[in-house]
Amino acid sequence: MTTGARHWRPHLAAERKVTHLVDARTLLDPRVLLVTGKGGVGKSTAAAALAIASVRTGRRTCLVEVEGRQTMRALFNTEPWDFDEREVRQDLFGLSIDPEASLAEYLAMFYGARRLSRLVVNSTAVEFATTAAPGIKDVLLIGKVKEMERRRDPDGRFVYDMIVVDAPPTGRILNFLRAPEATTELVRVGPIREQAQSLIDLLLDPNRLRLQLVTLLEEMPVAETAESAQALTELGVQLNPIIANRVLRPQADAATMKVLADGIAADTLQTVLAGSGFDDPASAHALRHLGEQHLRRLGLQDEMRAALHEGVDVPVFELPYLATRSFAENEVSLLADVISAAVS
């Protein structure tokens, strides 16, 4: 069991010569996508959009929530998600993984003894999993994802073509991914050790699983994304192209943007506006400010795009900022359009 077993070791990752993907067409290639990003970058929205794009391109898909926040329930406007996989849209299944339910399932599977698993789950084991050994929770979560990835229907086909996981944020993702390895360090023999090792195998297999980083083209998210990308690569997991979310597009064609960049004199602007019924100086001032702000944001975004390309050796796939979005699912659907177009 130990010979040939793979471990999280930087030198191994280097040996494997992690090759980076160049093309957005490969976005939906792996069977499991763990979507992560700094808080507030729209990680859950991106995960939902990837799942819908996956369905639209003919894949039977499961979207998995692991932190019990019920974000997807709000996005899809459904009943609360729980441990039952439910079809929330045609060919799209939703599941909220609960570590305690995973533990019960695992023990029931392993022992076939309901009496024991109920006893254990109801009391001490849960206390253990949640208090004494926090990593166990993560092992159980990844374990459930692996079970779904391996599951086959009666005629031998995989039940899911794609599993999109709204994974923990970048601040926690390393510990999340290291949990199986930490378990193998504590537990040297027995079924838990074997289970943990099989999870490490899943995490390190680029054909089965990849990490999907989501960022904004802003300073702090870009810095955190660059750090995470490096740490994840050192860990040996394969990265998908990074998704840059809410990317602002220039409001007009290049010629008009140049006019704005050159600046319109205050009195000129006021004269033009006077013809439109906005002849107050405050309006002219507000519009000039909006124009400058727009240009400044685009400029800042260009800098951050350059910083991202410099900091990360992974291609970047951009999703547009939708200023006029009104309903959450509408936004997700529009973003899914962009992804579907890119992969087909």
């Binding site: 024991l116 006893l119 949640t130 926090p134 944020p169 537990v187 008009t256 704005l260 519009l287």
Partner: protein, 391 residues
């Protein structure tokens, strides 16, 4: 419909909340806890409040868990630490970036009953995993550090931001979870004499325990249980202290001179979390000072900000596309229409989130040009938080 500030009884609680700033909070409260979802600017808000408290002559410390690098640099923090450091250029302000593992080690060193025990704990494999991992430990360490800082009596004002856990509520739950655990069956099982003798399958430990232990050792191997038993046993004599300090912090947080500041972005997911947290604070009888919504889009001024949107659209359409200046002006009008749509959406989301909750204060900090990471930027935010910018 585009009028985002529509009146009515529903909004009046918020109107009142909006009329108050965090000015008196900064001036008088002893402990200020900034909390909220990830990525909403908790640390920046905490740092800005601390700078302002120090400016008013209060001896202040800001305790932060995981600040962005440039913000840490501007606070004079180059690495994780367990001791306060003065912030360069700000009199009366210390800052500290918590090193989880070191803090836990120090607690063990200080409270373990003998030097031999200290070493046994530090060498234990479970301890090494637990103290280095993020989940659960961070909230507890932040608690212990808050207790320490309060006990020193050196600070008039202690500002702290909650750890970036999956759930901001974990911070409040830490004392109860710890107490439950210390009083629970699980720990007792490991501390029972049968376990200490390595005979957990015998009658000495009782039927239920024996059953669990047998099952657990089949799944994990007996060595793990021995490690775990040793881990828990080596903490013996320290449990009462853990419990007492956790309770003391919980009561410190409940005091009327403490303040919880719930931080959010103007986006629905973090607003939802903020409203959930307000409810939770109320349930625990915690002193909620108010809500800070960061990076809020400001409505354009003048007639372009007030006129019906249709009027702006008509004006933009009427301009001559063949004339450079007129075409550019039409784009500016489009930007105004878009900004107003964003303002309307954000204000609706804010009102929906806090409807019926009436936080005592609601402060909006406008979207700045770029990220804030220097002392000047923090002062700019502090001015907004304390209402110093109000016309």
């Amino acid at each position: 419909m585009s009028d985002a500030n529509g009146g009515g009884a529903v909004v009046s609680g918020l109107v009142q909340a909006r009329s108050r700033s965090l000015d008196d909070v900064v001036a008088r409260r002893h402990v200020i806890v900034c909390t909220g979802a990830g990525g909403v600017g908790k640390t920046t808000t905490a740092a800005a409040l601390a700078i302002e408290a120090a400016r008013r002559g209060r001896r202040t410390i800001v305790l932060t868990i995981d600040p962005a690098r440039r913000l840490a640099q501007s606070l004079g923090l180059s690495r994780l630490d367990t001791a306060p450091r003065p912030v360069p250029g700000v009199d009366g302000l210390d800052a500290m970036m918590l090193d989880m593992k070191r803090t836990f080690d120090e607690i063990v060193e200080r409270h373990a009953t003998s030097p031999d025990r200290v070493q046994r704990i530090l060498d234990n494999r479970f301890y090494q995993q637990l103290s280095a991992s993020l989940a659960g430990t961070q909230e507890y360490m932040a608690m212990e550090k808050l207790y320490d800082l309060d006990q020193t009596g050196r600070y008039d004002c202690i500002v702290i931001d909650t750890p970036p856990t999956r759930n901001a509520l974990d911070f409040l739950d830490a004392p109860k979870r710890l107490t439950d655990f210390l009083e629970g069956r699980f720990l007792k099982m490991f501390l029972s004499p049968g376990i200490a003798a390595g005979r957990f399958a015998t009658r000495a430990v009782g039927v239920g325990t024996g059953l669990f232990m047998r099952a657990a050792s089949r799944v994990t191997g007996a060595v793990v249980l021995d490690d775990l038993a040793e881990f828990f046993q080596s903490f013996e004599g320290m449990y009462e202290g853990f419990k007492q300090r956790a309770q003391a912090v919980y009561h410190l947080l409940q005091r009327p001179d403490s303040a919880f500041v719930v931080v959010s972005s103007p986006e629905p997911p973090s607003l939802r979390e903020a409203s959930y947290f307000l409810r939770r604070l109320a349930r625990d009888g915690m002193p909620t000072a108010g809500v800070v919504v960061n990076r809020v889009t400001v409505a354009p001024g003048g007639h372009v900000g007030a006129a019906p949107t249709a009027e702006l659209m008509e004006a933009a359409a009427a301009l001559n596309p063949d004339d450079d200046i007129e075409r550019a002006t039409a784009v500016l009008l489009e930007l105004a229409i878009e900004a107003r749509a964003i303002v309307g959406r954000q204000q609706q989301a804010i009102e929906a989130a806090f409807h019926g909750l009436t936080p005592p204060r609601l402060v909006e900090v406008p979207l700045a040009g770029g990220d804030v990471h220097d002392v000047d930027g923090l002062r700019w935010i502090a001015d907004h938080l304390t209402g110093a910018t109000a016309a």
